[in-house]
Point group: C2
Amino acid sequence: MKQYAIAIHGGAGTILRSVMTAEKETAYKKGLEDAIIAGETILKAGGNSLDAVEAAIRSLEDNPLFNAGKGAVFTHEGKNEMDASLMEGKTLMAGAVTGVKNIKNPISLAKAVMQKSEHVFMAGEGAMAFAKKINAEMKPDDYFFVQQRYDQLQEALKSDTIVLDHTVDKEKKFGTVGAVALDIQGNLAAGTSTGGMTNKKNGRVGDTPMIGAGTYANNNTCAISCTGHGEFFIRSVVAYDISCLMEYKGLSLKEACEIVVQQKLVKIGGEGGLIALDAKGNIELPFNSEGMYRASKKADNEIYIGIYKG
Amino acid sequence: MKQYAIAIHGGAGTILRSVMTAEKETAYKKGLEDAIIAGETILKAGGNSLDAVEAAIRSLEDNPLFNAGKGAVFTHEGKNEMDASLMEGKTLMAGAVTGVKNIKNPISLAKAVMQKSEHVFMAGEGAMAFAKKINAEMKPDDYFFVQQRYDQLQEALKSDTIVLDHTVDKEKKFGTVGAVALDIQGNLAAGTSTGGMTNKKNGRVGDTPMIGAGTYANNNTCAISCTGHGEFFIRSVVAYDISCLMEYKGLSLKEACEIVVQQKLVKIGGEGGLIALDAKGNIELPFNSEGMYRASKKADNEIYIGIYKG
C-alpha cells in the first residue's frame, strides 16, 4: 500500500522571532497541527486527497489566526472578500472562486464549482448566486469580525496603504492558507484560500484563485499551493512552472522548487513561498521570506511544524 | 534591423463553409484585415509590440462581428460582461480584467491595470471603479446592442443552454479575439479579449483574462493568445504550457503548438485554437476545431487571412 502525505501553509512573510510571543507561537502551532490532523484523518482512513485538502483548509479557514474564512482581512470598504481554488491531480479537474462574501468555507465553494457546475472559475455576484443555489454555508458579517483584522484596516486607512496582512506588530505577512495531499491511491490534490489584502480596493484578484499560478495538481508531477505577493506569482505562473520543470526538464521536486522560489521569484522581487508534494510523497516547503507558517506529515513520521527560517 | 510580425484571431469553432455566405465571409475578412493593419501600422513605424497588440484588438473590439467589445454577447441577465488581458514579453508585466461592463475597449483597461495600478488582475465592480478613476472610455448599453447577439440570447433562453457564441446558423463558436506581435526591438506581446458566452450565468470566468491560460508572452520563448472552451484551457494552462515546452524541453514553436493543441487539448476534449509567435518571427495558428478566424503579417510578406481548415 502506498503511503499518504500532507503539507499545509498558513501564509508567508516577515515573521520574526523578535516580535512573536510564546503564547502566539503556541496558538499558531496548535492551529497548524489541528489542520494537519483534519486532513490526515481522512488520508489515514483511505479517503481521497481532494477531501483531505478541503478538510485541512476548512480547519485553517475556521481559525481566526489565519487570513482566510473567519480570519479574512478587511477590504478598503470594511468588507471581507475571499478567494479560493483547488485542483485534483488525477483528472486535472479544478474549481475556483474570487470575491465571495459571507461564505464560511470558500474552499468548499471552490470544490462545488468543480464538482457541481460546468465552470472552473466563478467571480463575485455570480459565484454568490451559485453558492445560494447549492446551499453553501453562509455566515453573517459579524462572524468574520476579528478585532485584530479591524485594527489592521484602521491603521492601513490612516496611511492609505495596501497591506498584505499587516499585524499590529508591523510584521508583513502574505495571508493565505493552503494544503497539498497524496492519498494511498497515489492521487495528488492541492488547494489555496485567502482573505486577500487589508485595505485592498474591491476587485483585486491575486494568485490564490488562479489555477496554474496559486494552485496546481497533476499526478504526473506534483501538487502545489502558494502564498506570497500574488502579482509576481501570477506573472510567473508559479505553481504550473514547478510542474513543467519536473515534467519537461526532468528536475526533482526539490530542484524545481529551488529554481522557482529562490531564483526566479527572487529575481523579480516576488516575496513568498509555497508547499509542494510529489507523487512519491516527497515534501518541499520553500520560501524566500523571513518565515512561513507550515506543517507536514507523512504516514509514518511525526508532524513537522515550522514558522521561521532554518 | 529585426523584422516585425503580427498575428490575430477572431475566435474558433464550428465555422463551416456550407453555412457561410460570400457577403459574411467578405465582412469577416475585412474585419481581420483592418485589425492586422491597425497593429502593423504601429510596428512598421518602430512602435512597440504591446501597443500593436492593443491597436489590433481595439479594432476587433470595435467591430460588431466579433465577440468582444461592441460585439460582446449577452449574459443570462441580458447584460454584456467582458474580460481581457495582455502581457509584455520583455518585462513579464501583465494586466487583466474580468466582468467589466460598458467599457468600450476592455483591452485598453487591461493595459491600464498593468501600467497604472499595482495589481495584475481586477474583477467586477473594483475594475469598474478603477476604469472610472483612469477615465476609461465608457459606452451606454445600446452601443453594445447587436441584434444578432440579442437573437442568440433569446434562442439560448428558450432551451436554457449556455452557448459559447452561437450564431443563428447553428454554428458553435468560441467568441474571443486576440493578437500577438513582435516589434523591431525584438520584444513580444500578447493580448486577448472576449464578450464571454451567450446566456452564461453572471460570474463565470474563462481563460481569456487568465495570464498563463489564455494569454502569455515571454521574450525568451513566445507570445500566445487562445480561443476555445475556456474551462479546458484553464485546466491545461495552455499559453504557458507552450512557453514551457519551448524553454524546458527545447521544442520549436511549431512542435509545442502541435503537442498542446492537437494532442493534449484533444485528449481532454478541449476544443479551440490559438495564435503563437516566437522571438524569431515564426508564426503558428493551430486549432482543433472546424475553423478559426485568423490573420497574420510579417514585414515583407502579404497579409495571410484564413477562416476554415486547410
